[in-house]
């Protein structure tokens, strides 16, 4: 097979996975939220558990009118969901699902991820600015402050792992853990920092100031509807998956398992969805912080902690 056919097949697989995973996560979130809140969540379409609700929702999203505010900056507004969505899809390139199940085993995998992830902010900001809506603008400003200040501890937290494993390649990190056990043993502190920063990166409660529905109605995507809104939604949920997968890869042994190829992929997915569940669970249990508290936490707490972790890891490596 020529290489470009393979590439197209891979892209199609990733897109299909994004679609299915996004729908599943939206359903799972609603279901978990329902159960936590003494309700049962979606239950009408596709009884008993309302699984087909998502297909109904998807159809609804596709068929809804795409309303553009008259005062919006047309092209910026139009491109924002695309810019937000693309880096999320690109991140799949280096996620190791199994021993050989990876888009491309780059030797700069983690740097690639960090570079791609920082793109998402551009989409958020375009959406907020382009909508010409004050709520959106406030949301975008918050997003700017929040995502930049939390990307730093997020990346610093991974440095400990890189120091231990001695590689930037995601596949290499997993292989190291196959040989030496999970990184979480020595990198617990890094994981805590990583997890908190990840929640902030993902704009999830308690750090969902960017969306903050009780303050900013819907933050940066207030003005979006129909499929454009759907793209934000999908990108967001896919992002949750990507980040959780990254956490699994870095700290929880990735696909490492004794059950062969299929078993590895399954183990990887189970671990990832466990982290996703944790994120959902946290979302429905805590209130939201305020912008100044968010900044304080990021700069005065997480950043020193992640730096300390680097020193600590260095000491471990010395001994």
């Amino acid at each position: 097979m020529p290489e470009w056919v393979m590439a197209i097949i891979k892209i199609l697989i990733v897109l299909a996975f994004i679609g299915l995973n996004g729908m599943f996560l939206i359903w799972a979130e609603r279901k978990v939220a329902g159960f936590i809140q003494a309700r049962i969540g979606p239950a009408r379409v596709g009884r008993p558990q309302g699984f087909f609700q998502l297909f109904a929702d998807a159809i609804k999203m596709f068929s809804k009118e795409d309303v553009r505010p008259a005062a919006a900056d047309k092209w910026v507004w139009w491109f924002a969901p695309v810019v937000f969505f693309t880096p999320v899809a690109m991140a799949f390139l280096v996620l190791p699902f199994g021993p050989n199940v990876i888009g491309l085993d780059m030797n700069i995998g983690l740097i690639y991820l960090a570079a791609v992830a920082s793109f998402a902010l551009l989409g958020v900001f375009m959406a907020g600015w382009g909508s010409n809506n004050k709520y959106s603008l406030l949301g975008a400003m918050r997003a700017g402050a929040q995502m930049i200040s939390y990307e730093i501890p997020l990346i610093l937290a991974t440095i400990g792992v890189i120091m231990i494993t001695g590689t930037l390649s995601t596949q290499g990190i997993v292989e190291y853990q196959v040989a030496h056990g999970w990184n979480i043993k020595t990198q617990f502190l890094a994981f805590v920092v990583f997890f908190i920063a990840m929640l902030a990166e993902l704009n999830r409660t308690p750090f969902d100031l960017v969306i903050a529905e009780s303050e900013l109605t819907s933050g940066f995507f207030t003005e979006y509807s129909g499929i454009r809104w759907g793209m934000f939604m999908f990108a967001e949920y896919t992002n949750i998956f990507v980040m959780s997968a990254l956490a699994v890869t870095l700290f929880f042994g990735g696909w490492a398992s004794p059950f062969g190829l299929v078993g590895s992929v399954l183990i990887f997915l189970i671990k990832t969805y466990a982290i996703v569940f944790l994120i959902i669970w946290i979302r429905w249990s805590v209130p939201r912080v305020r912008i100044d508290q968010l900044m304080t936490l990021g700069w005065k707490f997480l950043l020193p902690l992640s730096l300390f972790n680097i020193v600590f890891t260095g000491l471990i490596l010395l001994i």
């Binding site: 936590i36 049962i40 239950a43 805590v286």
Partner: protein, 161 residues
């Protein structure tokens, strides 16, 4: 100072975990959702839906004598009564027209309490949505029908349920 910070972190973590345990516990508790059209809650006796005209079990006629007290007592003028006068063959006066406008009615129970002839009762019929506003004006046959098909009670002046 470091000790204080660590203590704070410890306390915060502890209470966060406690909070999460509450939500985790709730995952398993029975849900209170009722799938309304399929499942229904039992309405308690005396639940106020809409007023209905009582039908005398023996004669099958309405108890109402078209005295108009209820119409006067209604704060929002939802009731319209007109009596039949001078008709032969019947001892009692009865209403020629008895219309209840459910677009106005606020189900307050005042008309039921005011009726001196035990002719009006509060039924628990609450599913009265219609596609047309005009359909919400109930005439006397419909009101009697509602009385027959629903639980209805008359509670006045400090009685016990």
């Amino acid at each position: 100072m470091l000790g204080g910070v660590l203590g704070n972190v410890y306390n915060a973590t502890k209470s966060l975990i406690k909070g999460h345990l509450v939500t985790l516990k709730e995952l398993r508790t029975p849900k209170i959702t009722v799938h309304y059209p399929d499942e229904r809650l039992e309405l308690p006796l005396g639940s106020r839906g809409m007023p209905a005209l009582k039908v005398n079990q023996d004669t099958g006629l309405l108890n109402c004598t078209a005295c108009g007290v209820c119409a006067r007592e209604c704060p929002v003028d939802a009731i319209e009564v007109e009596a039949v006068v001078g008709e032969k063959g019947r001892k009692k006066r009865y209403p020629a027209i008895y219309n209840l406008d459910m677009t106005h009615c606020m189900q307050c129970n005042l008309c039921v309490e005011a009726c001196p002839f035990d002719a009006l009762e509060m039924s628990d019929a609450f599913e009265i949505s219609r596609y047309d506003l005009d359909d919400l004006i109930f005439d006397k046959e419909q009101l009697a029908e509602i009385w027959k098909t629903h639980k209805a009670v008359r509670i006045t002046g400090g009685e016990k349920l």
